[in-house]
Assembly symmetry: C2
DNA sequence: TTGAAAGCGCTAACAG
DNA sequence: CTGTTAGCGCTTTCAA
């Protein structure tokens, strides 16, 4: 019994064939007799052979690994995108190497450079902001790159995004159909294109219904739960107060729901709340949140699929793939209550 | 300008030195004159050279990458552990390769096998359940393994865990000190050791205060938000109802808070709620959740540090490292209201 | 259907 | 201080 990891040569010796034959068996190549194949498999099992990834990568010129670059793995929506990417990669027999930038921009382009040299065959950038900082390193990398879920308008790489604008329009239509005419908006961050698109949907939804957007009905929520709480509290302090609130993401919608309850009002009886994203928690809270679903896992999947298309040289790569969003009607929305005008006099 | 990636040889040619010299410069080895070093750096910059990871790994026998195996990256507490591991790895100049098992146990041990053969130098297993399924593959792997945040009692590998029992005791002491005598418990999952330990802390906290544990005051919450909601609803339907609820994790505590509000009661005035974990959201909800903090990021850090100790052959590796937990007193707990006995007669 | 030769890009060990 | 030699474990030709 030799010490150290078992190599191809060990298996070859054991099965009394050449290393090449073992390699072919391991990689399911054709042109090996059933008997030999059988014998090699037995040797592999007996020895517990596992191919060395580094050697394989160096020799074959590919790693069978896809890199995923994310700012951090905390936010749920990012987790969902990764989950989709993970499934697609798994189905294709590839590994995923997840790398977080942690906002540490200093060495990041260098980091990305490392990834693209012998560590991964392709890169999925899941970034909410611009990808500009990396463009240089990325462009000189010799691996395909696909950007996911950023609102970045003019990326030099193929993009996968969700239809933020029409999602927002759907949310507004839902609220308007229920009879709401005074609808507050909790904005995300002005520096993301996604946030801007959702806001545009809010405004144009209003205009389409013949309503006039009021600046006072728009508050910043910074995509956070406390931000949503504060924004909703301010909104509900208006006279007359809105009967419905559309939040730019689920997290700030959760905060809005808390604010409504804290003011002694009920969701949805007194105030309707709509979110955006449909993170898993949206269906877990009480009342379950009506929200606009971004196909997050599908976006991850689509990103990987684009990458595979490039790698395998098959199928077209869409420069800008925009996936549809959809309203998920749950329990946090209802028609405005007739006689009840929320009051927050304290 | 040669096509394809720039190699060491290209740099060597450009700087008019041997490949070995370039290698030494790249790896910051001593024994190179300042002038030569300078010249090599210039060539590297001009050519945009980046070392090939696969070749380096194969040649040097190490990958400078640590593997992290998690069931999935969704749950916040896992994200936090990874964040800690990520920071520690980054400080040590190592990459993290995150691999999810997605409950797909079929090919997992094989998957882990692949990782340990040329892809990573060490493995951090972040698993809530047992690691038994992998033990075989792991033991034959030629890389160190450390297990984090599982309640697994007898792992064959070094363990990093939190002190669930004393955390639960602290939560109970807090509630008892506030004057609560009727305290409900929302259990996690009976199949995790962590859940059992927390339950033990609940029971013994009661006993120490001279109170008798009542089976009716314990409900399963399955660690989920709807589970916590349902459990709390049942608990508050008792007569007399508990004045405080201790949930086995933050998620089920959020559900409990919702249930309290839904019954027309207030947190903490009518019912106090304590969670466990201190995920980021705990401080973001309203009212901010009083909870037992598991040092999740520290656990990730500690796991990586243990791995590094093994890899560098320095420092001791603790077979079982149990990190302290701590009560974080926020806004969801208060003394029981004197005259008020919650009623849920409907 | 099988195998021999060559080399992927890098680094460890040693020699000059 | 610098360079030579050898080889990591595998796969790609191409020949038998």
């Amino acid at each position: 019994m030799p010490t150290g990891p078992v190599t191809l040569a060990d298996v070859a010796r054991r099965a009394d064939v050449s290393r090449m034959t073992v390699s072919k068996v391991v990689n399911n190549k054709a042109g090996i007799s059933e008997a030999t194949r059988e014998r090699v498999y037995r040797a592999i099992d007996e020895l517990g052979y596992v191919a060395n990834g580094a050697a394989r990568a160096l020799s074959a010129g590919r790693t069978n690994t896809l890199g995923v670059v994310v700012p951090s793995i905390g936010p749920q929506y990012i987790s969902e995108v990764i989950r989709g990417a993970d499934m697609a990669a798994r189905e294709a027999g590839l590994d995923l190497l997840i790398s977080t930038t942690q906002e540490d921009l200093r060495h990041e382009s260098q980091n990305v450079g490392r990834l693209t040299h012998g560590l991964v065959d392709g890169l999925l950038m899941v970034l909410p902001r611009s990808v500009d900082q990396y463009s240089q390193a990325l462009l000189r990398a010799h691996v395909p790159v696909v950007v996911v879920a950023t609102g970045n308008q003019n990326s030099p790489f193929p993009l996968v995004d969700a239809d933020h604008y029409h999602g927002a329009r759907a949310a507004m239509r839902h609220l308007l159909d229920l009879g709401h005419t005074r609808i507050g908006f909790i904005a995300g961050r002005a520096d993301t294109a996604a946030s801007l698109e959702r806001f545009r949907g809010y405004q144009e939804g209003l205009l389409t219904a013949g309503l006039i957007p009021e600046p006072l009905l728009v508050e910043e929520g910074h995509y956070t739960q406390p931000g949503g709480f504060a924004a909703a509290t301010r909104l509900l302090g208006l006279a007359p107060a809105p009967t419905a609130i559309f939040a730019a993401n689920d997290l700030s919608a959760f905060g809005a729901v808390e604010a409504v309850k804290e003011l002694g009002l009920r969701v949805p009886q007194d105030v309707s709340v709509v979110g955006f994203d449909d993170i898993p928690q949206a269906s877990q809270v009480f009342p379950a949140l009506t929200t606009v679903r971004q196909p997050l896992t599908e976006m991850g999947r689509a990103g990987v699929k684009q990458l595979l298309n490039v790698l395998h040289g098959v199928g077209a790569v869409t420069d800008r793939l925009v996936l549809a969003t959809e309203l998920i009607d749950r329990a946090s929305t209802a028609p405005p209550s007739a006689g009840r005008v929320p009051s927050t006099a304290n």
